[in-house]
């Protein structure tokens, strides 16, 4: 028999792991900008060229997902810090999940638009 | 539960144990205390669960009370004591000369002893003065000065007693020459009211004389302060006493991460004015370091004074000459009915003080209710608050 894993623990670990992932992704992000987008991302054309690189697109998408999850967990932690009662935790979880889906969906749509060179 | 209602004045160890005892006997109890409970003498003692050995030679009555209560308390308050035992250490030839009297006193009063050689004692307590001649092991212990009385109060409360801290007695209510209640001031709500009682017990410790005067009677209580010094570091695990006649700075009680050196002894008029003379602090360090040299360098955590409520005459010089035993006064002898005073004693003997007092109280009320406090195991101190 194993000790049942509590949700509280899972959330905290997910927060810590997503945070560490963000630190790494941010590092890679800067390195990629430096090497892939030589000369910087100043003009529209430069940005489009940059995100058309498949690795960059994957990186940006991953960054988006992780940052959205980390932010949602952070907001959840603040709500609990202020004594959110157990009865309302499910409502908060659902609202934050919807928020994450909306942000990620919007971001991916935007990424696709720019990669397509819309405008 | 009988219809009789007793008011106890004083929320120290004595009042706490008495509230517990009377409640178990079926009496309704209200305890009033002018400040927080245990804020007078009770909280400030050195935390020694006496074996009685300190009094074995000069005050055998106290010694006998101590060893009997020591054994009862271990049974009814499990977890409240460190069962660390105590050592009486002989440092000088003069101390050695006291050894025979000491052993005889312990034997006569029923205190178990074990004599240790210098090496045996140093093996148990490496921080002792290496010049010691020998040591005697006795069943002293360490207790928490506040939490043991809290257990009496907690148990009393859960059995129906009312405990009112921050209620100061401002006068007594008389019906003729009979005390019929107390006038109190509630410092929390700022109101004055009276509490009717079939009997009032004065358990105000060093303030007992002040309370007795409200009834127009006098009790021979001498407030005798002592200075105690707590230093950082737990330098021994056992209670260390000097093997000689009780004197200044001859006991060190380890308490958590502190070592408490005690005490001095003098006499005051007003237990609300207790100084901590600088020279007494120095004396505690000096005398303590004779037994445990490292104490001389241990940083001080606190120095304070506590007023013992000793039974005796105002002519007392230092208080050392007065017995540590206790006395119950039925003021009917002076023509005041319904009023009883209990003074003297020590934290270790609070339960037997309560038993003797409660015996008198139920006799005066005409009840036939035996004492049960030898058997009833006390609730934890946390139950006082919850």
């Amino acid at each position: 028999m194993t000790y049942p894993t509590s949700r509280a623990k899972t959330w905290w670990l997910l927060q810590a792991l997503s945070g560490l992932a963000l630190v790494l992704l941010l590092g890679v992000h800067f390195v990629a900008q430096h090497y892939v987008a030589q000369g910087g991302l100043r003009t529209y054309a430069q940005v489009v060229a940059y995100v058309r690189h498949p690795a960059v697109a994957a990186l940006e998408a991953a960054f988006l997902v992780v940052v959205a999850v980390h932010a949602a967990l952070g907001l959840r932690a603040v709500a609990l810090d202020f004594g959110l009662p157990a009865a309302r935790q499910r409502g908060l979880n659902a609202a934050l999940a919807v928020g994450v889906v909306l942000v990620v969906g919007y971001g991916l749509w935007l990424l696709a638009q720019v990669r397509g060179g819309a405008g | 539960m009988s219809a009789y209602h007793v008011v106890i004045i004083g929320g120290g160890a004595t009042g706490a144990a008495l509230a517990h005892d009377l409640t178990l006997r079926g009496v309704q109890v209200t305890l009033v205390e002018r400040g927080e409970v245990t804020s007078g003498t009770t909280g400030r003692h050195h935390g020694l669960l006496h074996s009685g050995a300190r009094y074995a030679v000069k005050d055998p009555e106290s010694a006998r009370e101590c060893i009997q209560e020591n054994q009862i308390l271990r049974r009814i308050a499990p977890g409240s004591f460190e069962l660390n035992d105590g050592l009486f250490v002989a440092l000088t030839d003069e101390d050695l000369a006291y050894y025979d009297d000491f052993m005889e006193g312990c034997a006569n009063t029923g205190i178990p002893t074990r004599t240790l050689s210098r090496d045996e004692a140093l093996r148990l307590e490496p921080n002792l003065n290496p010049d010691l001649k020998l040591a005697v092991q006795v069943p002293d212990g360490t207790m928490d000065a506040m939490r043991l009385p809290l257990r009496f109060l907690a148990t009393a409360k859960h059995n129906g007693a009312r405990v009112h801290p921050f209620h100061q007695v401002t006068g007594l209510v008389f019906q003729g020459r009979t005390v019929a209640g107390v006038q109190v001031r509630d410092h929390r709500r700022g109101r004055d009211f009276t509490i009717a009682a079939d009997l009032v017990v004065n358990a105000a410790g060093p303030w007992a004389e002040h309370v007795a005067r409200m009834a127009g009677v006098d009790v021979p209580v001498v407030p005798s302060p002592g200075v105690l010094v707590a230093v950082r570091g737990r330098w021994t695990n056992m209670v260390i006493n000097r093997l000689h006649r009780a004197g200044d700075g001859d006991i060190v009680v380890p308490q958590r991460t502190l070592s408490v050196i005690g005490t001095s002894s003098w006499v005051v008029d007003d237990p609300d004015h207790l100084d901590v003379p600088e020279e007494h602090i120095r004396l505690m360090y000096e005398k303590g370091a004779e037994m445990i040299p490292a104490l001389a360098r241990a940083p001080m955590r606190a120095a304070w004074a506590a007023a013992r409520p000793l039974v005796g005459s105002r002519q007392a010089q230092s208080g050392r000459e007065l017995s540590r035993t206790f006395k119950v006064f039925d003021h009917a002898a002076e023509g005041v009915e319904g009023f009883v005073t209990i003074v003297g004693g020590k934290a270790t003997t609070a339960r037997i003080m309560a038993e003797v007092t409660a015996d008198l109280v139920v006799r005066k009320l005409g009840l036939d209710a035996p004492c049960r406090t030898r058997e009833v195991v006390l609730l934890p101190h946390t139950a006082y608050y919850t």
Partner: protein
Amino acid sequence: MSSPSTVQLRVFRYKPGDPAPHYDTFAVPVTPRTTVLEALQAIRRDQDPSLMLRHSCHHASCGTCGLRVDGQEVLACVTPLADRGPVVTVEPLQNAPLLGDLVVDMGPFYAVFTQAGMPLVRSTEATAASRPAAGIERLTRFENCLECGLCVSTCPVAATDPLYLGPAAMAAAWRVVQEPRGQNPARALAWVDQEHGCWRCHLAFECSTVCPNDVQPGQAIAALRQRLALGEPAPPGPAAAATRPALAPTGPARRVGLRAWLDPRGRDVGYWAFVLHRLTGLALVVYLLLHLWVLRLLARGPAAWDEFIALARSPLFLALDGLLLFGVLFHGLNGVRVALVGLGAAARRQRGLFWAVLLLTLLLLAAGVAALVAAVH
């Protein structure tokens, strides 16, 4: 001994029924040795007998006289009054129901504390029959906890979360895990393993800073998390109690609330790390949403975007970029510190780690700002 000087003691006053608390100022004579407790006793004796205060042992052993002196949680009996300036403010502990004046109700504290399952046993000391360990004078034991409540008063999470188990109780739970003495450590672990338990702690370490007996509750909480997250699976225990026992209210709760995040008096670096982490975190959430909103311009084509870029090179925007960079760097680096410390690694070095985080943040910030300025010119 020098002759007594006089200090003005500004004392918090409140009695049930008062519309609001107020402060009374008392002049008290002090010597170098006079403690805050002695001064308060003298006020009660000579000036105002209605002043309510708690005290018992007078040597930092009973934990009864916990107060806030100039905003910092202390035991009044071992806090000298001299050398604090001419006016000293004395207030009751926070995050506990107020009974009156300087007295709080310890009921809720003990209600949670006893849930931790710490046995009321002090008899495990080496008795005379056994040989005490070498260096016994340095040993600390959980019984070192005085149950004074200073840690709960200073805790920024207890300030806002009424369901939080609190530092003292969780330190007690860790003691049960370390040294069960017949108790069930799995029960203690299950009890702290809840949203308002050890995972709610944000490692401000104020509890460890104010603890008068070096119990280090913050480190104990980190150790509990380490055990729960990385340790061997504990055998399943009975279900954990997830709520606070209901006690009849005795007075105003005096939970500090959000103000605790912004009250600088007497706080240590771990506390500032917590506050900065929270504030930068919330700011970054706002930035994330703004950023995504601005990026919609990319979908509108080159003209809209280049217009924005021109705007983005204005000094105001660059300053905001600097601020953003600070937030990202601090939140990220302190996040690493929180993750490490929060899982028990280097919990005793959290203070040093904070300074390392701050130093690295400022260095990288300087490098970043230099790069920004270079990019613009």
